[in-house]
Amino acid sequence: MTALAGRVAAAVRPRRRRSREAAVGAALVVVVLVLVVASLGLGQFRLTPGEVLRALAGDGLGHVVVVQWRLPRALAAVVLGFGLAVSGALFQTVTRNPLASPDVVGLAHGAFTGVLVALVLGAGSWTVLTASAVAGGLAAALAVWLLASGGAVGGLRLVVVGIGVSALLASVNTWLLLQVELDVAMFASAWGAGSLNGVTAVQALPAGVLVAVLVLGALALARSLRQLDLGDDVAAATGVRVARVRAVALVLGVLLVCVATAVVGPVAFVALVSPHVARRLARTPHQPLLLSGAVGSLLLLASDVVAQHLLPVPLPAGVVTVSLGGAYLVHLVAREVRRR
């Protein structure tokens, strides 16, 4: 009831809300750009922001380091963080579950299973691991889809089946981790946390193009998704094809996660937490897609900077993502409690 009242109130003041959304978005873009420049200067070979900008403009001194080594990694963090967060917003809207993330359909666990199986079978090359990850993730999503068929698309049944399949895969993963040597298990776990180590332009560019295409697809659905927020009947009455919009949104979400997983492994929590942060920053009742994306970019990039440069031991970015995202979510919840 109160949620509905909030929605109505928000609809009454659309202009103020939009201007706030735009302001928050602009601020996020600025922060991300500043962070990109800062991250390009960090590392063994330190550069001031001015030197970074000159290198980007083609100045010889740091050109190779900045443009060929560090830029692909930073841009990959920005693009993939964006994609993961949009995917999370799609899933939360479609399932109407604020705790839903793409992992509802078992993607991350499936990807990890794929990698572990490849490792147990003795594979080691990056290409094979990536291929098995994507295959595992898609197989899990497909299994969930098939097992959930017959219920409403994106409804309760999908979530329950997703939880079931995820739990099954998590158990299998735990078991597989116990079957391999300690060093292999640790390598697998580091991969399973999600890391941007070794990302080059070869992976970053195609991933960027794919994410852009998929996000544009999601934006085309944005209006229909907002209608879905008002309930299926209202949405259907205003001419939204509910089942189709849901299915397309979920497929887009799954593909976005697959792109990210192929490049950096299953990075946890970006998809789950970014839409929440975006919604609270902009004070919108629905899941703002682009804003969520911007928050996701910031979260993954900041996590990678922390993971690379600010810790006593270099850790996978995904480890930091979870901690940072979780800490920020704690702060948001606590602040809201105090405000009331």
Partner: protein
């Protein structure tokens, strides 16, 4: 206005819980559950790397018998007791969390209990080199209790709150958000910790699998009071929680004090899930599947649901543990792994039957 709570479904529970199906009488379900539990206990005592006849098991329990009796009493009985304790505690905790959050898919893990326990255990292994079951028990319990307290503080359950949007006495969704957030932040740190310490990683990968192997009375004794306390609080809260499923305002009109009730329920969940995790490691699935199956059998009213969970949880864990012993004899599959693999199809089958 007395409401027959078995007819009153929580708004979020699926159609199957609306009492349209004729439920089996509670007594029949409980008797069947008891029989199943007895059979599972006997199986757990008889089956393993060294199979024993049920007669030998009964002899041993009666205090007769020789070397085999030693085997039963010394190894399999504590292990069986650990499985019963963990299963019962987790199933009841799951039912409580689902009622509290009005979410039939909630699981004690949502309140961060597992994450808190795992963090404390990892910390103990990495910094202090504590591996023995007894230390792990207390570390896990302490971690669960501390994190749960933090979740309550952050989620604002304890505060009476302003007259905000239904937030008096804590909003269940915010509680879960706080649990997920704190749990995630902590699990990130745990992962970082174990990835930088091979020794801790090795200890944690087996703890994570969940196991009742080698859990002796020295571990079960300290855990039992926590479980009993949790069960007592759960029994006291059952009626109030039923009223709460109709919404805060209706519950208040029936004289339920919402904020203290929520606090008590969180405390019960922490005691139960914390003790279970401390004994057997994180057996994530039990708290979701057992209440789900129980609700399908006897409906959502907690007076019927909790006793059913008390029997179903141990059956699930015991049978999984027995299965784990025979699948790849003479080696064993940890019980947590088996539960995941057995519980998932069970959950999916139930949900496929109950939602159309």
């Amino acid at each position: 206005m007395p409401v027959r709570s078995s007819e009153a479904a929580a708004p979020s529970s699926p159609g199957a819980d609306r009492g349209r199906r004729r439920r089996a009488p509670l007594l029949v379900v409980l008797l069947a559950g008891l029989a199943a539990l007895g059979a599972a206990v006997v199986l757990s005592l008889a089956v393993g790397a060294k199979p024993l006849a049920p007669a030998v098991v009964l002899d041993a329990l009666a205090g007769r018998g020789g070397a085999d009796a030693q085997y039963v009493m010394g190894l399999r009985l504590p292990r069986t007791a650990a499985a019963v304790l963990a299963g019962a505690a987790l199933a009841v905790a799951g039912a409580l969390v689902q009622a509290l959050t009005r979410n039939p898919l909630a699981d004690p893990g949502l309140l961060g209990v597992n994450a808190g326990a795992a963090f404390a255990v990892a910390l103990g292994v990495a910094l202090l080199g504590l591996h023995d079951p007894w230390s792990v028990l207390w570390l896990a319990l302490a971690g669960a209790l501390v994190l749960s307290t933090a979740v309550v503080v952050v989620g604002g359950v304890g505060s009476a709150g302003g007259a905000g949007r239904g937030s008096r006495g804590g909003d269940p969704l915010r509680l879960v958000l706080a649990g997920v957030a704190l749990g995630a932040a902590l699990s990130g740190i745990t992962t970082g910790l174990v990835l930088s310490d091979p020794d801790a990683f090795d200890a944690m990968r087996s703890w994570h699998a969940g196991s009742v192997l080698g859990r002796g009375w020295d571990v079960l004794g300290p855990a039992l009071p926590f479980v009993v306390a949790g069960l007592v609080v759960a029994a006291v809260c059952a009626r109030g929680l039923d009223a709460l499923s109709l919404g805060d305002d209706l519950a208040r009109s029936q004289g339920v004090r919402v904020a203290p009730l929520r606090l008590a329920v969180v405390a019960a969940v922490t005691l139960l899930a914390g003790a279970a995790t401390a004994v057997a490691g994180p057996l994530v699935f039990v708290g979701l599947v057992a209440p789900r199956v129980a609700r399908w059998l006897v409906g959502p009213a907690l007076g019927r649901l909790l006793p059913t969970c008390l029997l179903l949880g141990p059956v699930l864990v015991l049978l999984s543990d027995v299965l784990g012993r025979v699948v790849i004899t003479p080696a064993e599959v940890p019980v947590g792994v088996v539960i995941g693999v057995v519980g998932a199809p069970l959950l999916i089958a139930v949900v496929r039957r109950s939602t159309r």
